[in-house]
Every structure is written in structure tokens, then in C-alpha cells.
Amino acid sequence: MEFKFEGRAKIVSQVLMGIGIIALIAGFLTDGSDHHQRWWANLLVNGFFWFSISLAALFFYALNYAVEAAWSAVIKRMFEAMWHFLPIGAGVIVVVLVAGNFFHAHHLYHWMDHTLYHEFVIGEGDQATYVDVMEEGAVANPNYDHIIAHKGAYFASWFFWLRTLVYIGTFMLFAHLFRKWSLLEDEKPSLDLHYKQFKRSAVFLVFFAVFSSMLAWDWIMSIDVHWFSTLFGWYLFAGMWVGFMIFLNVALIWLRSKGYYQEVTESHMHDISKWMFAISMLWSYLWVSQFLLIWYANIPEEVTYYTQRFFSDYQVPFMVMFCVNFAVPFYTLLPRDTKRNPNFIIPVGLLIFVGHFADVYLLVIPGTMFDHNEFGIFEIGLFLGFLGLYMNRTLSALSKAPLIPVNHPMLQESKDLHY
């Protein structure tokens, strides 16, 4: 059965995209913050959030292949469709990074200021030359930042861009290959192709394990450049995984109500809800693990991150965000019946989804907007715009291939799934 992307769904997604474009333009024009900082910061939030959901789709696809999971064979086209946003999300992130690094259009990343890295300076203003050793005529550089200067090798422009492009390139390459093999399998049954995907998925997971952590450091953690946390990458990874699971669940509920995916049973939906529940707990566990040690040790260089969020205007959203993302799934998704009931899953899912968006928002905004943040129609409009774009890309990709893979070797086992 083929999915047709038309009618109300298409119109809704286009209207949302229209709202997004208006928000993007109006937001830029009305943004009074220095260097349009607010505009750029929100672009990064949305770019990263939706990029990370598509990345989680790619990860989950590879995970299911690598562990030879049969249950998901029937919905694997959903995963494929959901990673079609990857190039757009990566593009938005790259635009933000390029604008900051090469055009100094914003100051999201403090470390992109090259004057921080040199201890001495000769001359003043535009003519200033920054040097590392004392020379004739040189004076101490007032901008010099000892901590950032020690991270200079890691933040060197060529190295940073090499990493960024390697992450994106690797993800795109695997996404392209997985999709290609998946469509090839539709044409003729081939166990070789299946085992090839099995092996390549394992290879991808190795790259993903390293890159998902490092891209979190490079793109998000480096906003709070004086601060560091080793489990930051896993924390973001858990967040992206939950977001993906929710989007998948709600999209499947919608598709089933439209008469598609009748082969997807209550058991599949139950399993996806279980994933939602489990990964919400993983996220909460990592959140607490990061917080608890920093709170307990109480070392000035570590607590900065939390003082910025707890003892400021961000206090209420930050605490509400954690409660929503932990307590709501814990208490509502614990019983068996709620996991199978769309009337529960849709409101709870949307609430946690917004909660995880707020999580990414609170990763980026406190370190970029400090005490001058504003939240208004622009943020909501931009979120809706990206939502529409993501829906549009996903559904249009979904309509380009049979909804259910034709020759997947574990298809029958997947259809017979019974819990």
C-alpha cells in the first residue's frame, strides 16, 4: 500500500511552514537584541532539535538492524521517512555556525572570538595584532581568557569544521546507503542485502556512539564554554531518542486512523509506548546523574551551568521542564492500558515532546541570551514552522516508497508480533 501525501495533511504542513517563514522574517526585523542574538539562538534551537530527531530515527533504524529485531520490520519505512529531514537540519546548524564563525553575525559561541586565545596584544582596535609571547610593544591582552585559550587546539577553526563536516557527512552517507539498500530489497528478495545492512548498521552505531557525544559538545556544550560535563552527549542522545519515539508514535496513530498501516497492531503500538516510557526514564536518569554530582561536589567551575539556570529567570521553566519530562511519562505510561490507548498517548506524547523541545531550548538560551531573554510569538511560530517542515519532509518521503517493505526477511515475524 502506498501512502498518498495530499489533502488536509499537506495543507496543514504548508500552513505551518508559512507561519514559520513569517516568524523567521518578522522575528528578524523585530528582534531588538544585539546582533539579532535571539533570532540566531532560536534558529539553532530548532535546527538542532529537529536535526536530532531525524538523527535518532537513523540511529534507531541501525539499532534494530544491528540487534536483528524483527518487530520493527513492518514500520521501518517510518524510520526511513523520518531521517529525510537530516540535510535540512544539518544545513540550519551549519548556517548558524558559519554565520558565527566567519561573518560574526552573532555571538552564540563565545569561543569563536579569536582574540580570546592570545595572551598579548600589539596596537589597538582594528589594527591590533594578537601574539602569544611577549614582544616589543605588546601589552597584556584584556580579552585573554585562560580557560578558553587552553581549549584552543580543540576549537581551532580547521579542526572544528573538520569534525562538523565529518559528523554530517557520515550521517548522510549512511542514511543514503540504508535507504538505497532498503529500496533495492523491495525489488528483489536478497538475504545478502539484509546481512549487509546488518553489518553496516553495526559499523554505523560505532560512529554514532562517538559522534553523537562529540557533536553535543561541539554544537551545544561549547555555548557554555567554561563549563564541561562528560555525560552531556548521552544526555542529549537520550533526549533526541525520546523525541523521535513520540513523533513516531503519534504519527503512527494518525496514519492508522487514516486507514494506513493496518498491519501495525496494538502490540506494535504498545512496544513503541514502552520505548517512550523507557527512554524518558533514561533521560531523567542521565539528567539526575549530571546534576547530582555537580550539586554534591559544589565546585565553582562546575556549578556555573546550574546557577545560571536555577537562580535566574530560567528557574521555573527549568524545573517545570524536568518535572514534565520525568514525572508525566513515569506516572501516566506505567500501566499497560495507557500505553495502548491513543487518547492517552497523544496528549501525554505532545506534552513530553514540548518538554523535550524546552530541554533543548534551555540548553541553548541561558548561555546565549543570559538575563535578557524574551519569549514570544516568534519562538512559537518558529517551532510550528519547523514542525510543518518536518511533517512535510517526512510524509513526502513516506509517499515515495511502499509503506511496508516488500521483501524484508523478518516481515512475517513482525506482522505476527504478539504481546
Partner: protein, 176 residues
Amino acid sequence: MNKVFHVMYDDDDTLKTAASQLVAKGIRVKEVFSPFPIHGIDPIIGVKRTRLGIAAFMYASTGTALALFGMWYFMISDWPMNIGGKPSFSLIENLPAFIPVTFEFSVLCGAHGMAITYLLRNGTLPGMPATNPDPRTTDNMFVMEITTEQNSLSAEALEAAIKETQLFELSIKDYK
């Protein structure tokens, strides 16, 4: 005289098929004994949904409450402790320090409460007499128990219906 039928099968799928056939004829299956949980047998023979999950939640909640109360009493009220340089003498402000203990104690209470309830309910506490009709059900055989008491059919009609299934062995006993 009430009779009890112990119908033995050598495969779980055969037993499931047989159970479906018998239930379709309106026969009530009292119990199934098997060496491992048979997937999907519950809806066939009409076993009620277990409430063990609810019990576990209550045990774990009790654990949470006990742990929090205990630590409040030990560390805040009875003998105020300086926790990691934060002598605020307040449960809520020192809460993060108590979370790991609370979590562990909840798991401990939940797991033990659930295990003990399970063993009690099934009558399988260590030392309790075995209730399975045939020792082979702990090895490789599957036994279905049907009683005339629970069924409106006569013993002969039940026996005839049971013998239509692909059984391995049948034993009929008088019911005390």
C-alpha cells in the same frame, strides 16, 4: 461424584490449540501447569489480568515514603547532619543527596514485596507442598486441569470432547 481430568500434552502449541477447541465448546479450563509461561494462554482460558503490577507500585511507593521519612528523621530531625557542606537542615534543600537512597529503597521494597506476594499467591514459598498434578510438568510436559464441578457437561461428554484433542496422556480422578 465430581471428577477431575488431567490432560497432558507434549507441546505448548498443541495445548493452546486444544484449549481453544475446548473453550469454543463452552468448556471451562480450570488451570494449566507448564514448565514455562505459555505465551498467549491467558486470554484463551480466561485468566484474569494480574494485579501484581499495582501491588508492586504500592510496595515501591511505601519504600519511597519510608526512605524519605527515615532520612528526614536520621539526618534532619534527630541528629542534624552536614551534608556535603550544605548544612541547611532542610529535607527539601538536601533532597538531591537523598534521591539515590530513596531510589534504591523503593526498588528494594518493590522487588521484595512483589516476589513475596507472588510466591504466597501461587503457594510456592520454599518448603510449601507442590500442587502440580504430575512432576513431569516441571520438565517437558504440559497439563490442563478440567473439573466436572466447573462445567455443566457430564463426565462422559467432557471425556469425549477432551479425547478429540491431540493429547499425550489422560488421567481421571475422583474429586474429594
